[in-house]
Subunit: 527 residues, 2 copies
């Protein structure tokens, strides 16, 4: 196991703050950040970060104190991402769509000393039980006054150990209480370098903040974009109109988004081809080939990655194979890209595996399901204040994802389903992802989610929740007939319900919510 | 100072072998290497590396033994770069243009247990005093038999510490005996990631091996190219004909070369524009703006970097500033690019500085000279078996480059001269780099070197050694008249001599050789 000798002149702790400081030294007039009407150069951004860090130290943050951030993707959120660790604190970015009770739980669990929040979320904060010292960003808040009053020169920079915790990211807690995933300086630094390569971020890139920064620290893009010397474009609301306006007017070249965001973008009124090639990194749920094909038709190139909160966001990438994949048309291209792929560049070849319950590799036949497990620098340090959950998650020396996948003969991993989403109907396993992909091929379907519902005869059967495109008409029987032509009869949803789907803030469909509604007090099998 | 906790599941030692192993898992049919008629895929390259490593273990290499390699840029050299550390050994790649006495000195100093050499260098090896077990690569050698007879499964992989020494690279020893510069696994890994970004290596890139792999381990490109999943193109002889043929026929997109190689390329008979854009990384000596302009006119984009053996090759890059630099024509573009620039992406903003003798920053006025000093992960661990020289080199906590530079108001560093090359004439400092840049603007001049020669009146005066272009005619007086119009009289070379220039294997002009010839037994000042 590795050790790095202390006090050696040739070793510098991997610290992602260095990325910002270097870009401020190198790109002295470049726009680092666009937020509404504000344009800030790299030196200006650095200055604001140092002022915020100094203000945080004045408020008692200096060595490991947790600072919670509750904010949409605005300038203050990016500044806090750098300033909290720079002050010596640990960043806890909170999902803005959580309930007051959930936020109270997290604030209590992480033991936050201070809350930085956007004034837009005043009502939510007012409903919290927890009372914390706070800094309020946005019009009418005291954030700018704190910056103006701070002395950046008084800032005390602590020597860091690269294995120190830089941030704690709470899981969405679909199964039980949210858990606090600890990221390290080293992990963030290396993941950022990998993201730069895979997303092909360049100094001239313009990155649009569609992905919430509170989600896995924005997949480490706050650090990756600054390291590349590219431009951050903030986005207060993740809506098709705002995204398309930024693409049209601000030179956007890159963004990240969950597949559902892509679906809404492709189906936005008046959608037209992008004015320049755009690199779109997608993850959060397995994207349907149909979705990939639709967004690429607009002029995007999809980079499909996969990961979890516990893996700093992305840990695999569906690397494109040139020239052998170049010949196919868009449907074939989209099918190939819909797989979760291979370990990212800073991972070892065996750091992501598909295994059976004995941690043995499953056959790479594209058929045999197993669990995806991971290890290495792209995997969390552990769950904060939860050694039992940490030990359980790392059983056997690998982190257990809970995702069921097959490995294809070419080594590419493809997710079959979340372990808890798999439907077991009359002894047959049904991948809900597979059924959804068939349903979404129907031209009237905008999006859908398939979950297990109780059935007296089969134990479980699939039920489809379907959102239709605006103006489209479709009956349950028509959709079932469409599916019957394409998949085995036992996989065809026995029930179909039309309407909106419940989603998390990051656009993931909340199948647990749908299932709860269907199962009520009945007990489902435990995975 | 950093420490990394041992035996943690989320920490994996940074090991550049992982890059190759991952690419072999991801790119199973891609050509990793072209060497003459041979084409090898990534899995084939990995298999050969494992076989060589296993063969090395059979020969007793397992834990820290030094393995010397004496080879042009052929397949065996690349394979040894991976296989020696994989076996547990330390790689010592030797400059093939050294004299037998110099090689004997290095083999003795590093205590090599084994020599891998290319059969083309049989005569040189025959003239060595040192007798070592050897493996001979190339037609008629036993290298392929070793590979065929080895058992890759028997290979024992050692746990590495990322601060272990992966290679020792000997300095050219222009001032005294060569010193053994120790690179670490961590340093190589991080430098490779930085090179990927700065050279913009992509999976579809094709990298031509013009830069010798024995020079700073090829600036870490053996690892960077494999990490990107790009293709290595070997090149036995660094000659314009072979380089141009590879560019024409093999889809080359990238190469690295010292400015003198670029000069010979631009002046090669029948030179014509490249068939595709080529990214050329140059370093080794300050490139004249004229040279940059000439190669860019052919369709290359110059990435000017700067470093030393002690900094894994490049440590700064002349980062392009867009849009403010975009408007100028080629002369202005070349002038901007001829500066050594700013710290590379994995460096901290203050890891490369220009300082006075008290380690204080010199004024960033483009005028005040100081010494370039460096620190951090991109700086060597130390000189092998030479703690005194190591301590001296790191005096004050920074590595001392011996290069004199100014820092411009925009933060960019520009080398004035090597400390020992600076001419002090009648109390005035003369930058030989500056004088050379003026001389090379003359249309008849192919290349030139200016050195200090003794002068009874002024102490030292500049003397120019000049190589003319084929067929060009020029007298010393004409050249001096040309110079007098452009620089101060005291900087104009008092003496001019026409002829070829002595060069190192990496294309650096050996000014020390020229000076020695002029000074003979006379003592010059000591810097």
């Amino acid at each position: 196991m590795p050790t790095v000798a202390a006090s050696a002149l040739h070793i510098r702790s991997l610290d992602p703050f260095d990325f910002l400081e270097r870009s401020a030294a190198v790109y002295r007039t470049k726009i680092a950040l666009i937020d509404g009407d504000a344009r800030r150069t790299y030196p200006e951004l650095l200055e604001r970060v140092k002022r915020l860090a100094s203000a945080l130290q004045t408020r008692g943050i200096s060595s490991g104190e947790r600072v919670a951030v509750l904010s949409p993707n605005v300038s203050a959120a990016l500044e806090a991402t750098y300033a909290v660790p720079l002050a010596g604190g640990v960043l806890c970015a909170l999902n803005t769509r959580l309930s007051p009770g959930e936020i109270d739980y997290i604030l209590d669990h992480c033991g936050a000393s201070l809350l930085i929040y956007d004034i837009e979320l005043e009502a939510l904060v007012g409903r919290l039980q927890t009372r914390l010292p706070a800094i309020r960003a946005g019009a009418g808040g005291d954030y700018e006054a704190h910056l103006a009053g701070a002395d950046p020169v008084a800032l005390v920079r602590r020597e860091i150990d690269e294995d120190d915790t830089i941030s704690i990211n709470y899981t969405s807690g679909t199964t039980g209480r949210p858990k606090g995933v600890m990221y390290t300086y080293r992990g963030v630094y290396l993941n950022a370098l990998a993201e730069i390569f895979h997303a092909n971020l360049r100094p001239e890139s313009v990155y649009l903040w569609t992905l919430p920064m509170f989600h896995c620290n924005g997949w480490c893009f706050p650090w990756a974009v600054s390291a590349a010397g590219a431009t951050h474009v903030c986005l207060r609301k993740v809506e098709a109109t705002g995204i398309l306006a930024a693409i049209e007017n601000l030179g956007v070249t890159h963004f990240c988004a969950a597949p559902t965001v892509l679906v809404s973008l492709c189906n936005a009124p008046g959608i037209r081809p992008f004015p320049r090639p755009i690199n779109v990194t997608t993850a959060g749920a397995p994207p349907a080939p149909t979705t990939i094909a639709q967004i690429e038709t607009l002029g995007a190139t999809i980079d499909h990655v996969y990961g979890l909160t516990e893996t700093y966001g992305p840990i695999t990438e569906c690397a494109w194979q040139s020239p052998q994949w170049d010949g196919g048309g868009e449907p074939e291209r989209a099918r190939l890209k819909s797989r979760q792929g291979v370990p990212m560049m800073t991972l070892g070849a065996r750091d992501v595996r598909v295994v059976d319950t004995q941690l043995r590799d499953v056959a790479a036949d594209g058929q045999t399901p197993g669990e995806i497990v991971m290890r290495g620098n792209n995997v969390m340090k552990g769950y904060y204040r939860d050694p039992e959950a940490t030990a359980a998650a790392f059983a056997g020396g690998y982190f257990h994802s809970g995702d069921v996948a097959v490995q294809h003969p070419d080594g590419y991993i493809e997710i079959v389903d979340r372990a808890k989403d798999v439907i077991i109907s009359g002894g047959e396993n049904i991948s809900t992802v597979h059924v959804e992909r068939v349903l979404i091929e129907h031209p009237a379907v905008l999006e859908c989610a398939v979950v297990a519902v109780p059935d007296d005869r089969w134990g479980e059967v699939p039920k489809a929740f379907v959102t239709l495109k605006a103006g489209a008409v479709l009956t349950a029987d028509e959709l079932r007939a469409f599916a019957r032509e394409r998949i085995a009869a036992f996989k065809v949803p026995k029930h179909v319900e039309f309407g909106d789907l419940p989603k998390t803030s990051t656009g993931k469909v909340q199948k647990a919510v749908l299932r709860e509604r269907e199962w009520g007090t009945r007990t489902r099998r435990v995975n």
